[in-house]
Symmetry: C3
Subunit: 354 residues, 3 copies
């Protein structure tokens, strides 16, 4: 688990020793906490499930709503993440399952005010079959996994945790939907040049995505990392990727690599990350995707973004132009988020998706 | 679309040129944004559907829950409107459909903080089949219609928007449930004298209702408008109504018309609308419905109110007396809100209600 | 109904004269507002239903989701109570029913700001079959019962209220799940020594539980009340219990009774309840359950707690040790909360649970 940055209020020492189970082809009953649980074969299973489920939605196959009928998902969001939240809810509903959440929002609950997360998680585990947890503290989903394992020894119906993101730590389902979208758009990852752009130092999304890409060594994938010098990807992650024989290219200028890039993954650079405003001003224009910039990309490139976006894609008029470009597939990416989460839910709750 | 009163944060220029589609007898796949989309024949279809659905609920017809099974409604409320919110939720549930919403409330979400509404709407459109949008800015539902049309060209499952009210602009489903309630209570609108009372200048509910009443010219409907001189109905709307050969009577004294009124539609006058307190003090008592006032009404008159009510129906003791009067049908009106919204949901999602 | 402590904003005088109906073996259509509605035979029916429903969940009996299919529960929480809230939601879902709630939380709604509770309740009653109400004011659930009875004479589908707790007044479903848990763990209440510990003056949970225990006079139950002198159980309640020939033992020291206790019901003492800090400091350590204290209890005792817990069970390390003890059954108690609420919902909505 990632190191903790400050004194934790909610997280116990158990979170730091807890290891989530490797998937190894079998999702059923397993907490989904980290991309480290996944190997390439697991991704293949997940992609196949997400693709099959999408097709069943397209054909309005009502059998889908049998898959999680009678199951209850609890949505525990200690901080806002509207897309993750709503796509998990929609995913569970479309599988016929039900969703519970704190009516007034967890921020106003006793859960928020001083109760140990370990108690909150177990209380919720008494009611639900699966808990989607979003929490601002690193390690929160590990804590959930540890304490649910204890609870599950005591109560009738075991409960599974799925991380919806823990602070600046991990956000595994975002990374899984990202890698699925690349696979889905390109049919495979073979020989792709994937370029991640933005704040690669703090962005957990790009860290997890890079780790997943490392699984595709044999596919001759190349990874380009475009970031200001002060916001480069941590060496722990680039070293890991390189150790899988993936070629890594680092630069602070997208122009160096855009023409050979198949997948552009765009993220925001936040001014607050720079000590002095002058440093931010010097580089910021280079990290705004504009229609002019997109013109330089390959005809069959794809432009991804985890959303929400602010200034990093220019003005509202720029948005209109970028959005109309068939290479901009961030809304398809978001739609895929629902299918990947459906695949995960059905796999952890039932094991099969038919 | 109505003029915008201040610099918009969320709404693009597209909202101001977007025209929602006329219903013309076919609701399926059409955004519901304005009462201007409806003609009398469309209202007839809606009334018939609402009546049939109510009967099926009364007889506990379980087939109802097949009508929207497998469909997902997203509830996007950027400001509170508990009745609209809960009645849409209940409507969708009773049709067998599911509802998603931001767990912690949209006010705490990234959606609320600076993201363009156009992105929020499209993100939600990736997950849901229908979006009910309540937003404080005029034009917000037009913006939703415009951008969903763009998204629908790209994704698998098209998404429909239904306005739950946009600021001081329009609130079409409130007007539809109001006109349905009149029709339902009186069997027809023929020869009715309908009296709207209160702040007719700012009340969007009464504006939209007046527009819908204009469709009933041939039925010899008369419209009485009772308001203080400074809060009269805008002439744009009275002119429209008059152009349909509806008789319009304007006065600042309910006593002038109460004895001949069949339908009393009561709304609140807010002190803040008056420049000086003295002006408010002079007129306020005339705009409080009391048991004594209701005594003057016809034996078969009906008293309507969109709720919530505050001082405009007197004291808590007055409420008790008014509520016990069979002519007070505001709770039946509210119940009708659910049936009308069920009718709308099933018509836009499926086209038919059997 | 309990006396009101301060000038009420939301509650009318009707709440103070309203008597909720005695169950007398028939739950259907009856508001659940007070433990005073229940006699021993009613508890037996409820226990039987809860046990049967739990068994059906354990065996994944899909017929359960037929029991409340097509029914809508409205969750009206004017203050946070995450466990009550989520367990009612899960209960209704697992019975196949649906749940509606204010999307942004009732705290931001017009309901919260000045509308009479009587209007809020009736508005909600227009949409829902059952309302679960949590409200900070004593008498709020009586108010709900009174006004729903009026509404039910007017609208098509009658609506039932279930109290989710009203301020420092009553919280009947907590008491019902507590007494069920004792019955369930011990197979009967016969000859049990039940010990309630903590602030017995202000704790509504222990008041209601004591009243329910009074129904088991013939079972030779003994009730021990352990509290500081200034926080003893009100004499009105101890007198009631004694009038049923239940032996009551009062002390401020758990050591006096722990060795003969079968059921330890632990609650928190809040520092704010003491006039001077010194008084609190003198007694507080005696009201912290520790692993060392639990060692003194019988081998087959059970330790209950309504949760959430804070300092009254010591440190996080203490929690880990206590939680691992098979006598600590507070998570099973919480799980039972869902089964008891399922039993109540199905009984008030349908009368039968098969």
């Amino acid at each position: 688990m990632a190191e903790q940055t400050s004194q934790s209020i909610s997280i116990s020492r158990h979170a730091f020793s807890y290891q989530p189970p490797a998937i190894q082809g079998d999702f059923q009953g397993k907490h989904i906490i980290s991309v480290d649980q996944f190997q390439r074969a697991d991704l293949d299973i997940l992609f196949q499930a997400a693709t099959a489920i999408r097709e069943r939605i397209r054909t309005q196959d009502r059998g889908l709503t049998e898959l999680c009928a009678g199951k209850v998902m609890a949505s525990l969001f200690f901080e806002a993440s509207t897309r993750t939240d709503m796509s998990f809810q929609a995913a569970m509903r479309r599988l016929g399952g039900d969703v519970i959440a704190v009516s007034n929002g967890v921020r106003f609950s006793s859960m928020y005010k001083g109760e140990n997360l370990s108690d909150t998680i177990r209380a919720t585990g008494c009611y639900a079959d699966v808990i989607v947890l979003r929490h601002p503290e690193i390690g929160s989903s590990y804590e959930a996994g540890y304490y649910l394992d204890l609870l599950n020894q005591r109560i009738d119906n075991p409960t599974v945790a799925i991380s919806g993101g823990d602070g600046i730590g991990e956000h595994p389902t975002q990374a899984l939907l990202d890698i699925f979208t690349i696979y889905d758009q390109k049919q495979a990852l073979d020989k792709l040049t994937i370029t991640l752009v933005g704040d690669l130092k703090h962005g957990r999304t790009v860290h997890s995505l890079a780790k997943l890409i490392a699984n595709y060594a044999a596919a001759e994938v190349r990874l380009c990392l475009v970031a200001p010098a002060s916001l480069r990807m941590p060496s722990a992650i680039t070293d890991l990727v390189k150790s899988h024989q993936i070629t890594v290219i680092e630069t602070d200028n997208l122009l160096d690599v855009i023409e050979e890039t198949d997948v552009i993954y765009w993220t925001r650079i936040q001014e607050e990350r720079f000590g002095e405003r002058a440093a931010y001003e010097r580089i910021k224009d280079r990290f705004i995707m504009t229609p002019r910039m997109l013109k330089l990309a390959k005809a069959d490139a794809i432009l991804m973004h985890p959303l929400p976006r602010k200034h990093e894609m220019g003005t509202r008029e720029d948005h209109d132009i970028l959005d109309a470009d068939p290479r901009s597939i961030y809304f398809e990416q978001m739609e895929n988020g629902m299918y990947v989460r459906m695949a995960l839910l059905v796999k952890v709750l039932r094991g099969v998706y038919v």
